[in-house]
Symmetry: C2
Subunit: 215 residues, 2 copies
DNA sequence: CTTCACCTTGACCATACGGTCAGGAAATGA
DNA sequence: TCATTTCCTGACCGTATGGTCAAGGTGAAG
């Protein structure tokens, strides 16, 4: 890739650039391989080939396979939390939950690999991100539960269990990434089109928002 | 060994019994190990230890790791389809979908390992059960879509997209198994109690059935 | 040009894994 | 009793994998 004319003049220098670009290539390749083969099934050789680097070079940037995997999971967690902001600054559930569903459905489409890695990590007992679950995720969850409860108290939606509503949101939106292969198979082997994705988002929002009495 | 007076054990044939019992022990251990470590991360040695048998004995009953894995997945698929019958013979969505949610939530609680193996298999592109997806699952899905459409035509529920309703049902119910660890962490590290499971089932049914206008 | 910090990589190593096999034990039937 | 089938298992093997290392390349600063 060219066009780094202005980037090459950055203060950290060319060297730092090489590092950043290689780390990015490796992380992108790793995310895909970990998603498709699982941690145990992924090999450093495969990731190296996909990143276009010799295997020994991976170990120059990432000490161990676990280290690389940890970085991939953390990266996903960042994206994950960004979508969370859709929830905030919303006057009510229609806007807040609606935007959250939109954001998470978009992530399922644009970052299916990341979603799968996250799912796999949690399914295997969250060996590397357990602390995140117990701190960041727990805090975020409790915060959103409070927001939902406030909406309920304000009569903007029915009195549903906020926690199970969140689980339903996570489950349903991530399903389109994690079980994308199954969905594609049931769609005559073809990926969902732009139109079908809009239909999916609309369906999910419609059923959820009506389910909680926000419409 | 002391000579027990139990004759009942010999009735169906001792040989067949030994085979059946060992195959069961191996399959149970394999389901758990595959769920917790993934196919690539699982080792025959670990499965053997958990089943209480020497590794070489596994290969006496199951030729290869793939063969054992395939049997585990098929076994899950059977349980899966059994719950599907909840859908049939129902006069309307409240009974049909309500019973289906109950059945799938129960499976998530009693067979969490199986659910995870299934999820992992699909996430990795369904390498061994692709044919099931294209035949049995596709047929079942189309059949249920027809049932849901009939209910819609009969005015028993709102005109939602039946396909996305099914995806939501699968996603939400299986989430309690696949992401059970996350749910447990957010539940102060403790598994959901009987009461909490009832609350979960009630919440899901409530939100879904209202979401489709069946209540 | 020299220096020096950073980057690159082929070759190599120890280990762990899936799978094999031969020989023996135990159950069954004649 | 003996013969036959089924079951059991320690020891072994080839391979693939994660990881190491030493030697060499590269570019910018002095």
């Amino acid at each position: 890739m060219s066009g780094d004319a202005q980037i090459s003049r950055l203060k950290p220098g060319r060297r730092t650039n090489i590092r950043r670009e290689n780390e990015r290539a490796i992380l992108d390749a790793a995310e895909k391989v970990f998603a498709e083969a699982g941690f145990g099934g992924a090999t450093m050789q495969l990731i190296a080939d996909m990143a276009g680097l010799p295997k020994a070079n991976l170990h120059y940037y990432f000490a161990t396979k676990e280290d690389l995997y940890r970085k991939v999971v953390q990266q996903i967690f960042e994206i994950w939390l960004d979508a969370a902001s859709s929830f905030d600054d919303a006057p009510g559930p229609v806007e807040g939950i609606g935007a959250y569903i939109d954001a998470k459905m978009d992530i399922s489409r644009t970052h299916p690999h990341g979603s799968k890695v996250w799912a796999s990590e949690v399914m295997h007992g969250a060996p590397v991100i357990q602390d995140y679950l117990e701190t960041t995720l727990r805090d975020w969850t409790n915060g959103r539960i409070a927001v939902i409860q406030r909406w309920i108290d304000e009569g903007k939606m029915r009195p549903v269990n906020p926690r199970h509503l969140l689980y339903m949101l996570w489950a349903t939106t991530q399903h389109y990434a994690d079980f994308g292969h199954q969905i594609q198979t049931l769609n005559n082997g073809k990926p969902l089109s732009d139109k079908q994705w809009e239909e999916a988002k609309a369906s999910v929002k419609d059923m959820v928002l009506r389910g909680i009495g926000a419409i």
